[in-house]
């Protein structure tokens, strides 16, 4: 059923013609910021921590400011946002009431550092 849905026509057209679909970036950092996604996922930052409830967005919008201050807020204290690795892709995950203790434990276990060096993101 989905295979012939009109909403997916751009995908089929792309496959037929070999032209890429031109997606507009919503979660877009400036070009002087060098951001690595893999290390955030690996260290226990879940999808909705930064992207919001993407699964509930009919049209993707930017749910968080993505300012440097906002990023530093977590970098200065990762314990308040970190979750167990197996829950990273759980889009509906909500922080437990004992996040402070859980976070402190996970930070130690995963070896998460509070990286506030300029060169962490600005090369």
């Amino acid at each position: 059923m989905w295979a012939v849905a009109p909403a997916l026509e751009p995908v089929r057209e792309s496959y037929r013609s070999g032209k890429s679909i031109q997606w507009t970036r919503v979660y877009d950092l400036p070009q002087f910021v060098y951001f690595d996604h893999s290390v955030h996922i690996h260290q226990g930052i879940g999808c909705n921590s930064c992207h919001g409830r993407i699964d509930k967005m009919a049209l993707t919008y930017q749910a968080v400011p993505l300012t440097m201050e906002w990023c530093l807020d977590c970098h200065r204290d990762p314990a308040k946002n970190v979750r167990p690795r197996d829950k990273v892709f759980d889009i509906a995950y909500q922080q437990p009431p004992n996040q402070a203790a859980l976070g402190a434990r996970l930070v130690k276990e995963y070896g998460i550092r509070s990286l506030t060096n300029c060169s962490t993101c600005h090369r």
């Binding site: 031109q22 060096n117 060169s119 962490t120 090369r123």
Partner: protein
């Protein structure tokens, strides 16, 4: 300054690439125009950044992850000789060249040309279009024209067809050429390389009756004598020789066994600067010296001559004899055949053959006397016998010996075809120009200095639909030429002798070399003796020596902006060549630096600026080839002056009777270092090894290192990693590969001669040269100076906007987007390692140059400060990988760009917090010291003092 000679162009037109420079007038005008619109946009609310798109692959290439580079092994081919490299490719764009650790010619390092080849690939001035008589054509129309001409050629057996190549070491190209000459028996294949080892070939024939390839195993040598050979930085084997030589010179702890280097030369070369003992002799005197030494060696170390150098020769002979089988005598490529033959004889007498001196079959596909070959071709052309001339690469109109008048002969050829990377001086006179593929775009193969074969694989599709030699030759053999991939595979299917060809092929491509393809050593009969020379007459006036430019070589790289801007070894000149004279000779002629002179030899004259080189032999004029070109491209045109008009075929490298006369006026030369003195400071510390043995702590005793607490600032704590670097001054040979590697890796712009003249060079790393001796008897010391990454950095606390900060892993960081360009940091830096973008030096317009840029490093605009970052992009990448893999970073996992290419492993980088790490162990050595220690900056980059190994029997270094 008015110049009457049109070989000099006003400086203002010498700029790099198409970088736009904003003058005062345009900046004001811009602000006037924009002022109104700026006011309007300010009221429109805060502006977001420009919209970015994501375009995913419909069919992704196998294994390509955007953001993660791929690495492919191939070889860089310079003058036909290969050096194994590994090329970093971002999404199908090669951006950086690294050495191939497994390749015998590189051992993981690269020479300067390995680094610069990436810029050659993306040169916007490359030939892009097939042309016939200056009209655009395409490959199909060329093929059509060729197909129409071939039947006549076939009937005549190829009479009138000539092919001119440079040195061919490629087995498959050699096979193609042989196939063509077999299919067309009356066709001829000629070879000529303007800067090739002609002398070595001639000498081998005299000594052994056949051409042989000679290379050296300096890892087995305790004593090395160079007879006018710059073997550490020049030549097909130089990277490997530097590596091996340095490995026998390391002093660590109580291990103090060092090799010894004697150099006898006319030019002041980097190898000469490294020597424990050096003699500066005139060209012909080196031959006389070699004869005297030969007799001394034969007589057990007693010099049979008398004269000023008798004691030197005697001590040298005794040292060589004391190390039979573990010494090496290396003759220079530009010396006379006699010197080579004498070197072969001495090496044989000293038992070096088979140990430190290895002879093999020639590497070339068709070794021969190239000068005779070219003379024959010119004679045939002049007589009108050549109907079709196919020139594969090269630039004979510019670089053939002047007396042959190649361009006149070429005009007699009705159908000439030039396959060339650039439309150069030769292409201007040929009928057809076919754009050539760069070796990074092409399938092929080549041999390196010991014969090892590398199969070349392309890194990207040809940018300009170019062709390669293989395809051009195939067009003569088949109606439809085969793709190079098929030709190379067909050759090796027949010649690999592998049971499983596919496995062999994959393994050769993956490792970057064909294992076991180094040519086997030969055992040769004793070299034939040279008859004693009749007494030479008194030396005629001034000797004139021609040398290939250390970077531009014979002129082929004149349009490579990185190579033009790279400071030459020792002189640190950029963008020009010069007329080099020794201090005494210059004084005698009443000349100073930058004085314009007319240089006359054999009735021909050229004009050039003088540059005084300490340590050069007296009464010797040295000029470098490769400059003064007219058809090089935007970068190379009119840089320097052309010396080829003086070069004739009977004296390719040296001639006598030259005259130099001042013509009045000056020509400004841009050099990055004007002062060679240390002024009593302990900058580059160098002592004989005996000093170290006597007192291992001598280095620290010389320095005033203040207490750690003598500072206003609290000590830094590095809980995780603490990055540091150690540079071994004994190992550095001033090859400058580190400087150009840094430029390639970090998107460092080229500024051009005008900016160089006002000291606005942008290289993050410089190699300082100090002369601790005198002008006649120099004692050269080399010191690479990158950012010291000081703990108490004077630059950090003066920045008003905190654009340069200290990281928790020991780096002095530079945040370009915060910098407002006060330049206070550079003002305060005592090492002067910071570089400011006074203008928009980076080329933001030319598409091809954008492809070369490293996407992991910011491309800086005007008004921001930059400096060495310890390759922070490499550190962060390794850090992320290690976190993803749940481990810590291994020692040696991060190689900074400069470390990676250094042939002698002089630069070592790593985590100081692990005492077992290489860098930590080096810093624990007693030879370790910081630069300008008295300033208490606590740099993370420190040096190991240089040690030399002089012969106790030779108290003075020169006479």
């Amino acid at each position: 300054m008015k110049h009457t000679d049109d070989s000099f162009v006003p400086l203002a037109s010498l700029t790099a690439g198409t970088a736009e420079k904003q003058t005062e007038a345009t900046r004001r005008r811009f602000l006037e125009v924009m002022g109104a619109s700026i006011a309007m946009t300010a009221m429109a609310g805060c502006t977001r950044q420009p919209t970015e798109f994501i375009l995913p692959y419909v069919t992704p290439p196998e294994g390509a992850i955007p953001g993660r580079p791929s690495y492919y092994a191939t070889a860089s081919v310079v003058n036909g000789y290969a050096q194994g490299i590994v090329v970093e490719s971002h999404l199908g764009r090669p951006t950086k060249v690294e050495g191939n650790p497994q390749h015998p010619a590189s051992m993981g390092a690269t020479a300067v040309h390995g680094q610069s080849c990436v810029l050659d690939l993306y040169d916007p001035d490359r030939a892009k279009q097939v042309t016939e008589n200056d009209e655009s054509r395409d490959w199909e129309s060329f093929q059509l024209a060729l197909t129409q001409a071939l039947p006549a050629l076939r009937t005549s057996g190829g009479a009138g067809l000539s092919i001119l190549t440079e040195t061919v070491t490629s087995p498959s190209v050699g096979a193609q050429l042989k196939a063509v000459t077999a299919a067309y028996p009356n066709a001829h294949w000629y070879q000529f390389d303007p800067a090739g080892p002609h002398t070595a070939r001639d000498a081998a024939r005299i000594a052994f009756g056949r051409i042989v390839n000679t290379y050296y195993r300096l890892d087995r040598a305790d004593v090395v004598l160079s007879l006018d050979s710059d073997f550490l930085t020049t030549g097909a084997g130089s990277t490997r020789y530097a590596h091996d030589f340095a490995s026998r010179r390391q002093v660590r702890g109580s291990h103090v066994d060092m090799n010894r280097l004697y150099v006898v030369e006319s030019e002041m070369t980097p190898t000469g600067g490294k020597a424990d003992h050096r003699l500066a002799l005139r060209y012909a005197d080196i031959e006389a010296f070699a004869r005297q030494l030969s007799k001394a060696v034969a007589s057990g170390g007693k010099s049979v001559e008398t004269g000023p150098r008798a004691w030197w020769i005697s001590a040298l002979a005794q040292d060589l004899l004391a190390h039979r089988g573990a010494c090496a005598i290396i003759p220079g490529d530009h010396q006379s055949p006699t010197v080579h033959v004498l070197a072969h004889a001495m090496n044989a007498a000293l038992g070096n053959a088979g140990s430190t001196v290895i002879y093999t079959d020639p590497i070339e596909a068709a070794p021969g006397d190239q000068l005779t070959s070219l003379r024959e071709l010119v004679a045939e052309m002049s007589a009108g016998h050549v109907q079709m001339l196919l020139i594969l690469g090269g630039n004979p109109v510019y670089s053939a010996p002047a007396d042959l008048s190649f361009h006149t002969a070429l005009s007699k050829v009705p159908n000439s075809i030039h396959l060339s990377l650039h439309a150069n001086e030769t292409s201007a006179l040929t009928r057809w120009i076919i754009p050539q593929k760069h070796f990074l775009e092409d399938w092929g193969d080549a041999r390196s200095f010991d014969g090892t074969v590398t199969i070349l694989q392309p890194l990207l599709q040809p940018l300009y639909n170019g062709r390669s030699s293989l395809e051009m030759l195939d067009a003569f053999l088949f109606p439809v030429p085969r793709p190079p991939y098929d030709i190379v595979r067909a050759y090796w299917t027949a010649n690999s002798k592998a049971a499983d060809f596919e496995g062999w092929w994959r393994s050769a491509l993956q490792s970057g070399l064909v294992v076991g393809s180094a040519l086997p050593p030969l055992t040769l009969a004793a070299p034939r003796a040279i008859p004693d020379s009749t007494t030479d007459g008194p030396p005629s006036h001034l000797d004139l020596l021609f040398r290939p430019d250390p970077y531009i070589l014979d002129g082929r790289y004149a349009n490579n902006a990185w190579l033009q801007e790279l400071p030459k070894p020792l002189t640190k000149l950029t963008w020009d060549n010069a007329v080099h004279l020794s201090p005494k000779t210059a004084q005698r002629l009443g000349l100073e630096n930058e004085h314009l002179v007319e240089l006359t030899s054999r009735g021909q004259s050229v004009r050039g600026p003088v540059w005084i080189s300490d340590g050069q032999a007296d009464d010797t004029v040295i000029v470098h080839l490769g400059y003064g070109r007219r058809n090089a491209g935007k970068v190379g045109n009119n840089a320097g002056f052309n010396v080829y008009p003086l070069r004739s075929s009977d004296a390719l490298w040296a001639t006598g009777g030259a005259q130099v006369r001042a013509i009045g006026g000056k020509y400004r030369l841009a050099t990055t270092q004007t002062d060679y003195r240390m002024e009593g400071r302990e900058l580059a510390i160098c002592e004989p090894v005996a000093t170290y043995v006597q007192d291992p702590d001598f280095v620290k005793k010389r320095l005033e290192i203040p207490e750690r607490t003598e500072t206003l600032y609290p000590p830094w704590k590095y809980p995780g990693y603490s990055w540091g670097m150690s540079i071994d001054l004994t190992a550095c040979v001033d090859c400058m590969a580190c400087v150009i590697a840094c430029q390639a890796e970090n998107n460092i712009p080229v500024v051009g001669k005008e900016e160089q003249l006002v000291n606005r060079e942008m290289h993050w790393l410089r190699v300082d040269v100090y002369n601790h001796g005198s002008a006649e008897a120099p004692e050269m010391r080399y010191q690479p100076v990158p950012c010291m990454h000081c703990e108490d950095a004077p630059c950090e606390y003066v920045c008003p906007v905190a654009a340069t900060t200290h990281s928790s892993d020991g780096l002095n960081e530079m945040t370009y987007n915060r910098c407002i360009g006060t330049r206070y940091c550079s003002n305060n830096c005592p090492y002067k390692v910071r570089r400011f973008n006074f203008l928009l030096y980076n080329d933001w317009i030319t598409d091809q140059l954008k492809m070369q840029r490293n996407p992991d490093v910011t491309v800086r605009s005007r008004g921001v400060m930059e400096k060495c970052t310890y390759c922070v992009q490499r550190i962060r990448e390794a850090e992320i990988r290690s976190i993803d893999e749940n481990r810590s970073i291994r020692d040696g996992e991060i190689l900074t760009a400069c470390q990676q290419v250094c042939p002698t492993r002089a630069i070592v980088f790593g985590d100081l917090n692990q005492p077992a790490n290489r860098v930590a162990r080096l810093k624990a050595e007693k030879l370790d010291y910081p630069l300008l220690a008295e300033l208490n900056t606590r740099p993370h980059t420190t040096y190991l003092a240089e040690l030399r190994n002089p012969n106790p029997a030779l108290k003075e270094r020169t006479d």
